[in-house]
Symmetry: C2
Subunit: 293 residues, 2 copies
């Protein structure tokens, strides 16, 4: 990270703001520039200590930066990447925080003058809140981060982006954009879709008057920002569609088990699933405990 | 509640134990008898202060009780109801804590000598833990409780059972067993099924290495006791089957929206759902705040 004298964060909401706070908390000696569409919002992030300097001028903000982090909503990515293609130095490394990677990496590869310096990232942290006022220096700590280099990506750029997320306390994994999109559809986008549909169905059947803590937990993600999720579903459309098809098959199979009273098979399904989830929770707690020592 | 000199709790696990602790915390002046299959488990509940007296003899435990609360797993209900039919006084009021009501109420109506004194109950509280060591006096506080009287139920019995749950801090609602079963399928059993299927699918697609907090929350219920959930799915089989069919239709409809890129419709779905869930959370927080003043 010593190679970076200046880092630009484009989009200073929950994620961008938390990256700034995290870098400062880790004493990274780089100057951090925040870029926003509106002066007030990026100034707010500066006042909150997320960035050292606030501007709406992308060209100025990136002229001397060795690293540019795209942290806007996904829907702003195409415009911002086209602007970056015009104004960043060819040697600048560019990464992002988008929740879907194939479309983003394809677009970056097509529009950037030096696509080898772009490394797709998906730091898997966040909350149902948004805005720099919710930013936290430890938002990323002990969380997984997927980076999605392609065969054309410059190994030095990969190293630097991996270093960035490691400094923020993340557990970095590398995989292809397509593999990322399929996995994230299963652990995030499909569970989100299920939560949305469960809330809708419970409302339409007038069942919410008896909803209790289990329902509240299971559907927490459905309180996420609708525009953020609209972007995600559109950007990872293909993998989500495939995930929904698989989930429909799963539901048909459970329907069949119940219809025919296949008790042993149902018990085995419940036991196996509990074991898998309990192991996952244990592993994450172990990871956190290890990180805290 | 002054009419009760003695109350018997059959099954002294998390729910039965918490009923005992809650009644004591509310200073209900009744003697509380706990009944278990095994001496050690019911003695454990007594040592923990959940009940005043522990026994494995159902006939002795219920001979002088005005109220009997069936709090075993659902699978033990038929045997226990048949035993109760043989040994309780005709005037004793019997209620239960089962998560599905049609089958239970039908069975009680057929086997009890005085079915008018049986009132089905579903106190909607619990956790993924079990056993009296996890029992809490406030487990039921501010939670919904559904009672499911039928046209043959004695109004005095309804009053007394409603009083029981009100003393424990619950918000009591009354509906038919069938209406209960359909609603609870939507707010509890179907979300549980979805969580189980999502964990299974994520495991089979090797996606769990990037699972983060959203996945952990959405699938929390899948760590519940497999045998308890086996019983629930079997006892509320018909309503769960219908719920799965509705959920499959919902998923097909979302699939269609994504396939044809109907952006406005997707945004409206996400916005409506968020509004519904946010209102539900607000209402529950308001209810709790009101209860605490």
């Amino acid at each position: 990270m010593t190679a970076f004298q200046q880092i630009t964060i484009v989009g200073t909401g929950l994620l961008g703001g938390s990256i700034g706070l995290g870098l400062k908390a880790a004493n990274v000696p780089a100057r951090i520039i925040g870029v926003g569409r509106r002066t007030e919002s990026v100034e707010r992030a500066r006042e909150l200590g997320c960035v050292d300097q606030a501007t709406t001028d992308l060209a100025k903000a990136t002229a001397d930066s060795q690293l540019v982090i795209l942290a806007t909503p996904l829907s702003a990515f195409p415009d911002r990447l086209e602007e970056l293609a015009r104004c960043t130095q060819p040697e600048s490394i560019i990464t992002d925080v988008g929740s879907a990677k194939q479309q983003v990496c394809d677009f970056a590869s097509q529009c950037l003058p030096n696509p080898g310096r772009f490394v797709g990232s998906h730091p898997m942290a966040g909350s149902e809140h948004h805005g720099p006022q919710h930013a936290r220096a430890d938002l990323f700590t002990h969380r997984p981060c997927v980076i999605t280099p392609t065969p054309e990506t410059d190994p030095q750029a990969i190293d630097m982006v991996e270093t960035l997320w490691t400094i923020l306390g993340m557990h970095v994994m590398s995989m292809s954009p397509l593999e990322h999109d399929r996995k994230v559809a299963h652990v995030s986008h499909l569970p989100h879709a299920a939560a949305v549909l469960l809330v809708g169905l419970a409302a339409r059947t007038n069942s919410l008057d008896i909803a209790s803590s289990g329902f509240i937990d299971t559907t927490r993600v459905a309180s996420g920002d609708p525009r953020v999720w609209l972007d995600i579903f559109q950007t990872n459309r293909q993998a989500v569609i495939e995930g929904i098809e698989q989930m429909i098959d799963e539901m048909k199979s459970l329907h069949n088990i119940l219809q025919h009273g296949r008790r042993d098979e149902l018990l085995e399904m419940l036991e196996t699933t509990k074991a898998v989830r309990d192991r996952l929770v244990d592993a994450q707690q172990h990871e956190q405990a290890r990180g805290n020592t």
